[in-house]
């Protein structure tokens, strides 16, 4: 069974359709990349998958491990194993990173009928995961994303992904705002989370990230539809030639 199955997904905002029939299937262990020019609907797709209610789904289905995703609240989706690494991680003053992550992890555990982690076990887990992303312990006591640099915010996203251990991770423009060193660390973190049971969907404007997180499949999204799919070489071709050479799909416009 596939981890993610999107069929003819249509969604928009304020009566304007942005996703106009997206089809995509991700099998366990696969890494897919969605590329596309600005305004093609990449981030909308990521947000709609996570359950952002500013977008209205007008058609199609999305299944996560066979379960209808569109019926679920954002928190249920997260508990079912969907993780969105935000393009713009939100600052939450007054809530420490460790308090937040412990609450999140225990919410997911509770959902699956597992006992909550106590402070000691949680700290042990955090130390192990933070090593992966080259983060020091001081990070935990800081308020969530508050005053973080761009690189720290993105590392925090991948740390959360590592702790929450999702079935499907959607990375929305995770490379934006990162210098090359931060990019390496973040990509290293993501790569360590690749596994036979997990699917990863990388949403990116540039090919650069895909040098570090090498995808199995690359799709081009344009005007709310996937107009071309291929392997990692498609990303290289896009990098060399831009998006202009791709024909618009017949029957649209």
């Amino acid at each position: 069974m596939s981890i993610l199955e999107i069929k003819d997904l249509r969604a928009g905002i304020a009566g304007r359709e942005i996703l106009r029939g997206v089809n995509l299937t991700i099998a366990p262990g696969e890494v897919h990349a969605i590329m596309g020019p600005n305004g093609s609907g990449k981030s909308t797709l990521a947000q709609v998958l996570a359950g952002r209610d500013t977008y209205t789904v007008t058609g199609g289905t999305v299944r996560l491990n066979g379960r209808d995703l569109l019926d679920l609240s954002p928190e249920e989706r997260a508990c079912e194993g969907l993780f969105l690494a935000f393009q713009y991680p939100v600052e939450i003053p007054g809530v420490s990173t460790s308090y937040f992550l412990k609450a999140a992890l225990n919410a997911v555990r509770k959902y699956h009928g597992e006992p909550e982690l106590d402070a000691m076990d949680f700290l042990k887990l955090m130390k192990q995961k933070m090593k992966l992303l080259d983060m020091d312990a001081g990070f935990l006591s800081r308020a969530v994303n508050e005053g973080f640099s761009g690189g720290e915010k993105k590392r925090n996203e991948i740390l959360q992904m590592a702790v929450l251990d999702p079935k499907l991770a959607v990375l929305d423009e995770t490379d934006s705002g990162l210098d090359i060193d931060a990019l390496r660390i973040v990509a290293g973190g993501v790569n360590s989370l690749r596994g036979a049971d997990r699917g990863i969907l990388v949403v990116t404007h540039y090919q650069r990230l895909l040098n570090y997180i090498v995808p199995d499949y690359v799709h081009v999204l344009r005007d709310g539809q996937i107009i071309k799919s291929g392997d990692k070489n498609l990303a290289l071709e896009l990098e060399a030639r831009g998006y202009g050479w791709l024909e618009e799909p017949a029957g649209v416009h």
């Binding site: 996570a50 359950g51 952002r52 209610d53 500013t54 609240s73 954002p74 928190e75 989706r77 997260a78 508990c79 969105l84 935000f86 991680p89 939100v90 939450i92 003053p93 007054g94 809530v95 937040f100 609450a103 999140a104 992890l105 919410a107 997911v108 959902y111 308020a143 959360q160 929450l164």
Partner: protein, 436 residues
């Protein structure tokens, strides 16, 4: 409203809720009381046409017929408020209740006007009403005419009082009644103290607590004043707190509001010596039809003083709030640094908040900033938390506690801070149970 203001029978009625003439006191007191009576009869209640009261309608007060019989005995146990340790001084309907009080140890001194004589009496004569003048507004006049006793808490110079001094101002009654607590705090030079004042009273009964506190802080002292307003659900609470700061004083106040139906907190601080710093914090958590009005006045009377204000409100149900921050920088008060922030989170679409800064600056080398933000909980933050698996209500609770957090983080005493945090978390659960 105008008609109510001119209705002398309710003015007389409220005057009659005060002491009877069998407790005359010294001559100067009788003269002042009479002046206050006259002032009250002239001024009456502030009306919403008064710029300083435009968001707080006191009609409820004017429409209530308060009992003129005085509640004699109150159950002793009612004077205790849970969760606060240290010395306790219990005022029951404005009068010292020895039975339930544990007076603070020396060198802190507690004296009462009704028993004062000699030098003590002279201190009362000097301090009482030196800041809280009947002419300020009708409710000061009413309190000055009607208080049944005055408590003076004195911390001599050069003393660091380790544990917070707790005052419990408790109202007791079974029919609508009015009380007039009157408190003086005098801190000598180079001392430090934290004073916690708890206001409590019965639920589901209209009563008035019209309280006046005057603090006098000597040079180089550190004073923290925490007011916990937990009046009954139908109470009208008018608190007027004044502080007069000498040189190089560090003064901080926290106004924590969760009780009462109609609440007005007047905080007036005079920076009377150079190099002093006043920090005024507030946190209001309201629901139902509660109204809390925080009205602050920082009088920068001298140079090189700083003031910081952070007032936060969490409003659920149909509750409403007001913050007015007046900053007066007098001529010659150079190098003044005044910062004022007011933030409100509206937990329901029917809650509302008004914020208004009032800056009057008569010096040219000063820094004054103010900012205010009112709105619902941040949707982006809520979604972020939910996208990590936190249920909607859990995410909301996390954000409301976080919102309140930085006000409480400023409290100096760690144990007190913890007590207040626990109190606030409990209170926020009450708000979460309200309809949004």
């Amino acid at each position: 409203m105008t008609q109510l203001m001119s209705n002398t029978s309710y003015l007389q009625n409220l005057l009659a809720t005060g002491p009877n003439s069998s407790t005359p006191g010294p001559d100067w007191l009788q003269v002042r009381r009479e002046e206050a009576r006259q002032q009250w009869l002239r001024a009456g209640l502030p009306a919403i046409t008064d710029e300083q009261w435009r968001f707080t309608d006191l009609s409820l007060l004017a429409e209530t017929s308060f009992s003129t019989r005085h509640c004699a005995a109150a159950r002793a146990a009612e004077g205790r408020a849970a969760g606060l340790d240290g010395a306790e001084l219990v005022l029951m309907n404005g009068k010292f209740n020895a039975q339930t009080s544990r007076l603070p140890p020396a060198p802190v001194r507690v004296t009462f006007l009704a028993q004062a004589s000699g030098a003590e009496l002279a201190t009362f004569e000097k301090l009482l009403g030196a800041q809280a003048r009947p002419a300020h507004h009708g409710l000061i006049a009413l309190n000055s005419a009607n208080f049944s006793d005055v408590v003076l808490v004195e911390v001599p110079g050069g003393v660091a009082v380790e544990r917070p001094l707790n005052l419990i101002v408790h109202s007791v009654g079974t029919e609508p009644f009015a009380t007039y607590p009157r408190i003086l705090l005098k801190v000598g030079d180079n001392s430090s103290v934290t004073v916690v004042i708890n206001f409590t009273g019965p639920n589901n009964l209209t009563y008035l607590t019209n309280s006046v506190l005057e603090s006098y802080v000597g040079t180089g002292s550190r004073v923290e004043l925490v007011k916990i307003q937990r009046e009954g659900t139908a109470a009208i609470h008018i608190g007027s707190d004044y502080a007069h700061l000498d040189k190089d004083v560090r003064f901080q106040s926290l106004s924590l509001n969760q009780g009462g139906l109609l609440v007005r907190n007047n905080v007036t601080v005079t920076l009377a010596g150079p190099g002093s710093e006043a920090t005024l914090n507030g946190l209001s958590m309201t629901a139902g039809r509660q109204h809390v009005d925080n009205h602050t006045m920082l009088d920068h009377a001298r140079d090189h003083c700083e003031s910081h204000e952070l007032y936060k409100s969490l409003l659920a149900g149909r509750s409403s709030g007001t913050f007015t921050g007046k900053i007066l920088v007098r001529p010659g008060s150079q190098k003044t640094d005044a910062k004022q922030t007011s933030k409100a989170v509206l937990l329901s679409s029917q809650a509302c908040m008004n914020s208004q800064p009032q800056l009057e600056i008569y010096a040219d080398d000063v820094k004054c900033t103010h900012g205010s933000t009112n709105g619902p909980l941040d949707e982006e933050q809520l979604f972020y938390l939910r996208a990590r698996g936190l249920a909607y209500n859990q995410a909301r609770a996390m954000l409301t506690v976080a919102f309140a957090g930085d006000v409480l983080a400023r409290v100096w005493q760690p144990a007190l801070r913890q007590t207040l945090e626990d109190m606030v978390v409990t209170e926020l659960h009450r708000l979460e149970r309200e309809e949004f």
